[in-house]
Structures are given as C-alpha cells and as structure tokens.
C-alpha cells in the first residue's frame, strides 16, 4: 500500500515537472510582453502618445531632443509593402511552377536552391547588398548615396522569397487532385486549371505565405541596417531611411535616460505590429486547416 502511494506521488511529481516545461512557452511570451510593456510605457507617457507616434522628427541627441517615430513607422510600412509587391509575385509564380508544372529533377534542384536562400544569414544578404546594390543604385540612378529605401526593399524582397515559395507550395500541393482532374476533363488546359482552380482552392495558404513574408520583412534588422543608410528621414524611395527595427538597433549601444526608454517604446510599437500580423497569420492558417 505504502509503495503504491509512493509510486503515485512520484508519478505526480513527474507530471508536474512536465506541466511546468509545457507551460514554458506561455511563460516566455508573457515575460516578453510584460517586459516590453513595462519598459516601453514610461517614455510614451513622458513624450505624449500623439507626439511620439505622429511626431515627424527624431532628434534624440539634439540639445532639445525630439522623439517622433512617424518616419520609422512609415518607413517600416512602405519598406514591407515594397518587399511584398516585388517578392510575392516572383515567389507566387515560382511556387505554382514548382508545385504543378516542373519536372521532378528541376523541382528537386529548385527546392535545394530555395533551402539555401532560406539558410543564408541575413548579414550576408546585407553585405552583398552593401557592396552590389548600394553602389549599383548610386551609379544607375545617379543619386548621391545608394543606401536607400529602394535597396532595403530589394534585399527584403529576396529574403522573404523562400518562405513565400515554401508555404505556397505546401498549400498548392495539398489541393485535392479531384478538383484538378474535373477541370482538366472539362477541357481546360493545365495552365487554366492550376491558376483558376488550384490557386483559388489554396488561397488561404497563399495568404498565410504573404502574411508570413510581411512578418519577416517588418522584423528584419541587420540586413536593412546595412543597406538603408540609417538616417531618420521621412520615407522616400531614393533617400536614406531608418526602419523601426534599425531605430532600436542603431542607438541601443550608447543611449541612456529618456532616449533609451524611447527605444524600448519603439520596440513596443514593433511588437504591437508583430502581434497583429501573428493574429492574421493564425486566422489564415486556421481557415486553411478547416477546409
């Protein structure tokens, strides 16, 4: 009897340990949220939420410092939108080709290529962008400095390609073949079938791929830091700009006082965007699963 009790106690302890381990992720998410909110709120209070979010000048080291992050917010939005505009069409058509048309050998080869693109560290993209794109833009478009929003958009578009291709391919491949067979049997050509039957059937998954790309692009810091020039201008395609992520990263090492707190507030704004994107992603993934 006693041994049985002991055994039960032992099993309960083990169960409790695993429960704690299981809840770790929840704990980490709470930890991150709480820390960001606690350290991000004071500066927003001091500066005033309207001045902080909609102020057009960021001059954190000036004698009379100004902390307006509208340039960063807009740059992040424009930069992400640009990357999506360039990256999604390329990724989408590549995904349809690979999922539906490509011969097995080409498909295998391209999957390896996409795997490599996904594995290249972001600083390597930044380095290549710094030495190829930036001088290229300068001499092609005749601007004083090639480090610009345009360079960042191109680098981000390349960086989101692999996730867009992979996720779209997975959802295109999951389309029931009956749909396609029916369309083919009715006389539609393969091109018409795959673009007008399979793509609409996979649209939740493709939407999820786009949202995933948005999340990647808005959260990327190092590569953007290396090619965007990092000056707190209002966004314009050929000017040096600063993103939300790079605003945090570029001043972190030497900031203090209100400036440092303002950086945490920027991180909080970025986190808020990411949470919205996550919610959208979850919505599309769930809809994809339900079908």
């Amino acid at each position: 009897m006693n041994a049985k009790k002991k055994k039960r106690l032992f099993e309960n302890i083990i169960h409790a340990i695993f429960l704690v381990l299981g809840l770790l992720t929840v704990g980490f998410v709470l930890l991150i949220s709480v820390y960001l909110v606690i350290s991000g709120i004071p500066a927003i209070r001091e500066i005033g939420i309207a001045d902080f979010l909609f102020g057009k000048t960021w001059a954190s080291t000036a004698a009379e410092p100004k902390y307006g992050i509208l340039p960063f917010i807009l740059t992040s939005i424009y930069g992400t939108a640009g990357a999506i505009l360039v990256g999604v069409p390329v990724g989408f058509f590549t995904a349809v080709y690979l999922a539906k048309f490509a011969p097995v050998k080409i498909k295998k080869f391209m999957e390896a290529i996409v795997g490599i693109l996904a594995g290249i560290p972001s600083v390597v993209y930044g380095l290549v962008g710094m030495l190829v794109l930036v001088p290229g833009i300068r001499s092609l478009l005749n601007v004083p400095d090639g480090a610009s929003l345009l360079a960042a958009i191109i680098v981000l578009a390349i960086m989101i390609l692999p996730s867009i291709i992979k996720v779209s391919m997975t959802s295109l491949e999951a389309v029931p073949p009956e749909y396609e067979d029916a369309s083919l049997a009715l006389g539609a050509t393969p091109e018409e079938t795959y673009f007008r039957v399979s793509v609409p059937a996979a649209k939740s998954g493709i939407a999820a791929a786009v949202v995933l790309g948005v999340g990647r692009a808005i959260g990327e810091a190092m590569a953007v830091m290396m090619v965007a020039g990092n000056v707190a201008n209002m966004p314009s395609l050929l000017q040096s700009v600063r993103f939300l992520t790079t605003a945090v990263a570029s001043e972190m090492s030497y900031s203090e006082g209100l400036q440092r707190q303002a950086l945490f507030s920027i991180a909080l704004v970025l986190f808020f965007f990411i949470m919205l994107i996550n919610a959208a992603l979850n919505f599309f993934l769930k809809r994809d699963k339900e079908k």
Partner: protein
C-alpha cells in the same frame, strides 16, 4: 488538334502565365546563384590558415577569426544543452500528458507567437532580463539563454511530430505489462523521438549560425581567445556578429567576405545534414 480550337484570348492567357512562371523561377534561381557565387568568389581567396588559427592582434595588425569560431561553437553547445531538456519536455507534456484542450491551445498559440517575434526584440528583452535583471552582463551565456527562448518552438515542434509517429500500441503494451507512466516515457516514448530531436537540433544550429540581431546586445562583440568555461562568462562575437562588425563598423570587407563564405559553406552542410537525417530515419522507420 485541341490547341487549334482554343480562342485567341485563352492562348494569350496561357502564354502569359507560362512566361511569368518561367521568368519568376529564373529570377529566383539567378538571385540565389548570384549571391552564392559572388560571396564565394570574393571570400574564399581571403581565407588563409592565419585567419582561421589566430586571434586579432593590434601589434602585428592582423585579423584572425579563431575566437569567433570558438565563440560560435560555445554558444551552439550551451544553447543545445539548455534547450534540449526544455523543448523535449514541453513536447512530451503536449503529446503524453496534456488532456485539457485549452492548455494545449494556449501552449501552441504561445509557440507560434514566439516563432513570429523578430530577433531584434529577443535581443532587447534578453538584454533587459539576462544581462541587466539577472546581472549576467553581456556574456555568451546570456546570448545562449536568449537563443534558447528563440528556438524553443523549433525543438518542441520537431519532437512533437516524431512523438506522434510512435505507435499507440507500444505505449499500451508497456502499460499492460504494469509499467508506470514515467517508465513508459523513458523506455518507449523517448527512444522513439530521437529523429525529431536530431532534426530540431540541426535546425537550431542553422538558426544560431545565422543569428546576429539577438546576439549583438546580449553576447557582445569581443574577439578574445577563451576556453569554454571562462568564455561563456565573457562577452564574445559569433561568426555572424563578427561579419557585421567587420563590414559595418570597421570596413574590413575582405574579412567580412571570408566569414560570409565560411557561413555559406556551413549552411550547405546544415542543409545536407538535415536532408540526410530525414532520409536515414525514414529508411529506419520503413524497415
């Protein structure tokens, strides 16, 4: 015959989408080939034995990346040691213990949220929590702990996938023989999820190799030569961080490209290792 009957409109549509698909695929392929070839052509000639085997010296005015290689190795080891029990434990809880659907949903939602958070935010929170709140300072260990939080969902997911493939009948057989739950997990379930754990580790190593934003402010960017124990307690740059510092702060592009080509090579190896383990375990389960 059939093609002739197609209307002009349909023919243009077909030609257009075909062209778009081929152009897109060609663009993807060209971009990848360009980046890889450019980095290798610019980087490999700069790799020398002296670069790989020494620390940077101001006296001799030479740059060596041995400390960065070692730091990368230390941080990978420390992260894996810390993350394995946590990630595997969490996966075991989800597949073996959890009965409350709400808890499972909360854990899975949290894991998805974690994998969507950008690394710069991990860096910031890691700095606040580990370096400042716990007073660890800018050290490799603080960097490794930040990476643990970041990669936990990966290990959890791959382990969970492979736990699902352990047949329910094995567990029932063990229970039927009178084994307790813990014994079943230890002797039946855990050996069955080795493949998931290995895959998770490979993916995690790949992500650590590429990580820079999360490490810049948690692990710092010193280039001192240390042993593993003292090294973990000090600040140090991994290869990726060193690449960033050399390229952006110091303008040493030759060194940066040499590191970039080493990183690319490691990425190839990681991709290859992932593919090979997948094949290896597939064959084993097929038998």
């Amino acid at each position: 015959m059939l093609k002739k009957k197609l209307s002009k409109k349909r023919k243009t549509y077909i030609a257009a989408v075909r062209a778009l698909m081929l152009i897109s695929t060609a663009v993807t392929c060209t971009v990848a080939a360009f980046v890889v070839i450019y980095v290798i052509v610019k980087g490999v000639p700069n790799i020398s034995w002296q670069l790989l085997s020494t620390a940077p010296s101001y006296l001799a005015d030479t740059i060596g990346i041995l400390p960065d290689i070692l730091n990368t190795l230390y941080i990978v080891l420390a992260t894996l040691v810390l993350i394995l029990p946590l990630g595997v434990g969490a996966a075991i809880y989800l597949t073996e213990y959890a009965t409350n659907k709400k808890i499972v949903a909360a854990i899975e939602y949290a894991a998805e949220t974690l994998s969507g958070i950008p690394s710069i935010i991990y860096g910031l929170v890691g700095m606040l929590v580990f370096c400042e709140f716990f007073g660890m300072g800018t050290t490799l260990l603080a960097g490794a702990m930040t990476l643990v939080i970041m990669n936990l969902p990966t290990i959890m997911r791959t382990t969970q996938e492979s736990l699902k493939t352990v047949p329910q009948s094995y567990r029932e057989g063990a229970f039927g023989l009178g084994a307790g739950k813990w014994r079943v997990i230890r002797t039946v379930v855990l050996p069955g999820c080795v493949d998931g754990v290995v895959t998770g580790c490979i993916l995690t190593v790949g992500r650590i190799l590429g990580e820079s934003a999360a490490l810049l402010y948690t692990a710092g960017f010193a280039h001192a030569l240390n042993g593993i124990i003292e090294g973990l307690g000090r600040s140090g740059a991994t290869l990726t961080v060193a690449l960033y510092v050399y390229a952006k702060e110091q303008g040493e592009f030759e060194i940066a490209f040499a590191i970039a080509s080493i990183l690319l090579l490691l990425t190839f190896l990681i991709n290859l290792a992932a593919a090979m383990t997948a094949k290896f375990f597939k064959r084993r389960t097929a038998q």
